[in-house]
Assembly symmetry: C2
Homo-oligomer: 230 residues x 2
Amino acid sequence: MASREQAKDQRRKAIVAAAMRLMHNRGDSGFSMRALAEAAGVSIATPYNLFGSKQAIMLAVLDTGMALYEERLEQLDADPLEIFFEAVTLATELYAEAPKFHQAVLFSAYGDGGRDYRAVFGDPRFVFWRTLVERAREAGELDAGIDASALALALGQQFFICILEWAYGQIDLSELECRVHYGFALLLKGAATASAADRLAGKIPELQAHLTAMWAAEPTAVVASRVQSR
Amino acid sequence: MASREQAKDQRRKAIVAAAMRLMHNRGDSGFSMRALAEAAGVSIATPYNLFGSKQAIMLAVLDTGMALYEERLEQLDADPLEIFFEAVTLATELYAEAPKFHQAVLFSAYGDGGRDYRAVFGDPRFVFWRTLVERAREAGELDAGIDASALALALGQQFFICILEWAYGQIDLSELECRVHYGFALLLKGAATASAADRLAGKIPELQAHLTAMWAAEPTAVVASRVQSR
DNA sequence: GGTTGGATTATAACGCGTTTTACTTTTCGT
DNA sequence: ACGAAAAGTAAAACGCGTTATAATCCAACC
């Protein structure tokens, strides 16, 4: 029997579930490995046996969310270029549904001193963007000579860092969405075929105007210095 | 008299100097607030009185380095478009001169749980990129309608996250340089006037080839998954 | 069914960043 | 020159992630 492994998996699931429950209820503050162990009904040593670190647990939580996200994105059935922007918007919508939860997960997954195996930009997320790039390239929206991995990396990073800023409480979700859209428009335009480049160019002025309006209206920490030193 | 403030500043400088000395000698490991206090000849409470947090000290170290960096960049006297790429190359050269030191500073400045006032992308660095963008725009290399702040933010973030990956030990300096150049080429091309866009487009294939060759040859942690899942 | 061995447990400990407390030193207005 | 206020000091403590140490449990083999 694999009842040994079975029991392990069961405990693993219980721990991830308890982590999600705790995050939902209390957000980042109040979430600690000791609180998690208590909520999951296990000793504090067990999560370390089964996952290795707090960061690994957070990444497990993140990955389960990623599956749901990709599923909902497929249902949108957007065209190969628009889907980049839809993907960002969908993410902000999901974040808006449970902001404290997502902030806590992201903060714990990346904000801690986890210099371990998979730090800044993990595999599931990278593969996701590369798939989108490959589709767009095959659809003739992107230059055929573009390397999918290289572009996907640049796109994913642009997304990722804005997400981090949101998790750190420096920007809100609408600025997150707008900034990533802006970065995506520029990056994709740089890699696009002529017709697609035209469409992308059309997006830029509006996004830019939206951003500057935001910065003028609502000066948060980072934004304030940006506006004042204009 | 301001002899009170004077003494404060003196102590502040002593602490920053001791921090730099410690980082140079022992890198990140072995550097702690207790070790710093001892090396600076002050109590552990003093750095907190004068700076508030470890992160603030690291940002002070970072900012003094930034002044040197900008100075050396001005001396290069590159043209308004090339200077973006020179800036990246210069940074990698400076990092290469004392890699352990810079890794330690960056890691401590951003890797810790410093959710404080100025987290991901601080003011001196943002202003630097915006100035470069403004110059390039005035030189007619970038579209006149481009907002300097918005583009500077996108550029700086692309740079910043690659630096972080290097500080985390996930990529080496040559990959850092190449990836940022690639991201910059795409972003700038998306914002460039026609003639500048052509010049930028010429850079992209070479950078891309360089990147893919790197990934094929030297599969580090992140890279490995990238290559294998090709 | 008893024995064995790997997993889980409780518990203590470590080093970290940070805060608090209580004591001492230094500066400045009168 | 003296007393009040401000600031620096040592030392202990807090909660954190993580690790080490034994004791204990429980599925798996003879």
